[in-house]
């Protein structure tokens, strides 16, 4: 039985080095290896795309690619092809870095021995195969865990439904009068049903986080609205325990760039904890103000007069499945997922979370979130282009419903998909898909800032309409889309004007146009 010759692609621009390697392979016999030699990365990419390469030998200094970029590029074009980098003696450290980027091994020029070469190749191929297998196993395991948890949560929710239904039937006296004691006991059952339900929800949420399926939609968001909502929601639970729950919100707070649903979720977890760990007659307070150390952030504080956290635990409480070691302080243990979920949600919105605490006095949880700033969002594009005058175009995409009003549910469900489609239509360096600008009436609006003139704007708009027409979610949900573009009045940077002032000037003009577009829809929906 003869094995098929191993297809080697050698990417090497140095003729001498290439000849040397070619000789080595020739000595192994023509049936063992078949060598293809190219000089540039661009040629290598074409060969790799054909898919017949068994292993890639890659020089890290090519005319059209250099250093780790060569490895990244090759790996992104053909992740399934094992890769050995060839490097000079001085670059051994770099070669070691290359292994982190997906290379299986490295060879040092001048130190390649005849006999060692085929072995190195076969090792690399075998190592790559094992790595792929491990990755596949991991994916399978994650998928299994996903399916398992989805199944378990479904099975737990069904009996919980019947318990909830009949407890509330009794509590609402639909099955006759209750005495006070019976009423109290049923109240305890209901509280525990809700606890069980929130545990199931937490489990599902964490599974989603780990599978990368968490939805976060950043937009212009009012923290004070979220605080008022969360405090109102938990006022009853606090009062029942004899705890005063209040909020202190600084006047004229700027809006933040965050997902309002997720902010409410975070606040509810923190306030729920504060109430849980604070004894009767204690107090919990939510505060919000501009962060003293950095005015581009707002800081949210949730403080309580509870049992506090031991100093060595203040980092660990954000770990997954962490539980307080002293059960007396917690009453009942939860799953240990609440603060872990908080930390994930805060981090994914560009913020930070930490806690300070004095045992037996109380704790303060701090969260920072970035202030929404249009100048900050558009500055990179303007600076990259050194854009001091000339065209800027705002492309407006509108998603509407045939029934005239887009429900909140459809908005959240479709937004992420639409944003992904739009992201594919923009030139990533020059155009910016802006976050949601807040409520926009009967339809949903998406804005793209493009550093281009009207003709460029028209091209982007056309591209978006084409993509949207073939985006099946939009079609199936029976939604309508339209895209228009508005060129921003010629803005010129004065010689005396700083870049910062210029960016702010551009931002305020763009804001004005966006406000006009939004208010147009507000009138339409009345």
């Amino acid at each position: 039985m003869t094995e098929k010759a191993l297809q080697i692609l050698l990417v090497e621009d140095n003729a001498g080095d290439a000849r040397l390697l070619r000789e080595m392979f020739r000595m192994e016999g023509p049936d063992t290896f078949e060598l293809t030699h190219v000089l540039r990365m661009s040629e290598a990419v074409i060969h790799l795309a054909k898919g017949s390469v068994d292993i890639l030998l890659l020089d890290m200094g090519l005319p059209d690619a250099h250093g780790l970029d060569t490895v990244r590029l090759a790996h992104s074009v053909a992740p399934s092809v094992p890769l050995i980098v060839i490097t000079g003696l001085a670059d051994e450290a770099l070669a070691a870095e290359a292994m982190k980027e997906g290379a299986q091994d490295y060879l040092i020029k001048g130190q390649i021995e005849n006999r060692a070469l085929p072995r190195a190749l076969r090792h690399a191929i075998e190592r790559h195969r094992m790595q792929t297998e491990t990755d596949l196993n991991r994916i399978n395991q994650l998928q299994f865990k996903d399916e398992f948890l989805s199944h378990v949560s479904h099975e737990l929710r069904s009996p919980l439904t019947a318990i909830y239904q009949f407890v509330t039937i009794l509590l609402d006296k639909l099955a006759g009068e209750l005495n006070e004691e019976q009423h109290n006991y049923l109240g305890i059952v209901l509280r525990n049903v809700k606890q069980l339900q929130s545990m199931i929800n937490d489990l599902v949420e964490v599974t989603r986080m780990q599978a990368g399926k968490l939805k976060i939609e950043l937009q212009r968001t009012s923290l004070s609205d979220a605080i008022v909502y969360a405090v109102n929601t938990l006022q009853g639970a606090a009062a029942a325990k004899g705890i005063t729950l209040t909020s202190e919100i600084a006047l004229e707070l700027p809006l933040v760039c965050a997902d309002p649903t997720r902010i409410r979720q975070i606040l509810i977890i923190l306030l729920d904890n504060a109430i849980k760990f604070t004894p009767a007659t204690g107090a919990a307070v939510v505060r919000c103000q501009v962060f003293g150390q950095d005015p581009s952030l707002l800081v949210l504080e949730v403080s309580d007069s509870g049992c506090g956290i031991a100093p060595d635990m203040t980092e660990r409480i954000f770990e997954r499945l962490f539980q307080t070691p002293d059960p007396a302080t917690a009453g009942r243990k939860g799953l240990g997922l609440g603060l872990f979920i908080c930390k994930e949600l805060v981090t994914r919105q560009g913020g930070q979370i930490w806690v300070t605490s004095i045992p037996d006095k109380g704790s303060v949880f701090f969260i920072t979130l970035p202030v929404f700033s249009l100048p900050n969002l558009i500055a990179p594009a303007l600076k990259r282009e050194r854009h001091t005058e000339g065209p800027i175009t705002l492309v407006v995409t509108e998603i509407g419903s045939q029934t005239g009003w887009l429900s909140a549910e459809v908005r959240t469900e479709q937004s992420q998909g639409v944003r992904e489609v739009l992201q594919q239509c923009v030139h990533s360096d020059l155009d910016i898909l802006l976050p949601k600008m807040g409520l926009s009436g009967a339809t949903e609006l998406f804005f793209i800032l493009a550093i281009t003139d009207e003709i460029g704007g028209a091209a982007i708009a056309r591209r978006i309409q084409e993509r949207m027409a073939s985006y099946e979610h939009i079609q199936q949900a029976g939604l309508t889309t339209s895209t228009s573009y508005r060129s921003v009045e010629a803005i010129r940077r004065n010689a005396a004007e700083s870049m910062k002032d210029f960016v702010e000037k551009v931002a305020s003009q763009i804001q004005e146009i966006m406000d006009q577009e939004i208010s147009l829809r507000m009138v339409n929906c009345e």
Binding site: Q165, D172, V204
Partner: protein, 139 residues
Amino acid sequence: MSNKKILIVDDDPDVRQGMHVRLKANHYDTFFAGDALSSIAEARKHDPDLIILDLGLPAGDGFVVMDRLKTVPSLAVIPVIVVSARDVLANKERALKAGAKAFLQKPVDNAELLKVIRQALGEPALTVRAVVHDLGSIT
């Protein structure tokens, strides 16, 4: 004015009974089906104003029921609310696309269930309130 009729399709008899007590107390008449097949027969028989539909059912599932309802003109117009223990992410969009008015995950809060039922039945007082609420949240 006679009570509105609601068909409850769920394979769990406890859940059916719990729903029945709650809906009766809110002046709705209820009918039941425990599987996909009989749900169509019961719908034909009672001509309900609304169907509350579970997804996991014997002899087909909730999606099959919705497809089947669409093929009969007199049943196609009946609003459907899906009430299921299944995952929201994987099923909500699909259910709405299949024609459901709403997707609620079990266990459903009583107030929420009644609100959605009233909306689906187009009962005027609450529809107006919902619109006011929607508009209020914009400004």
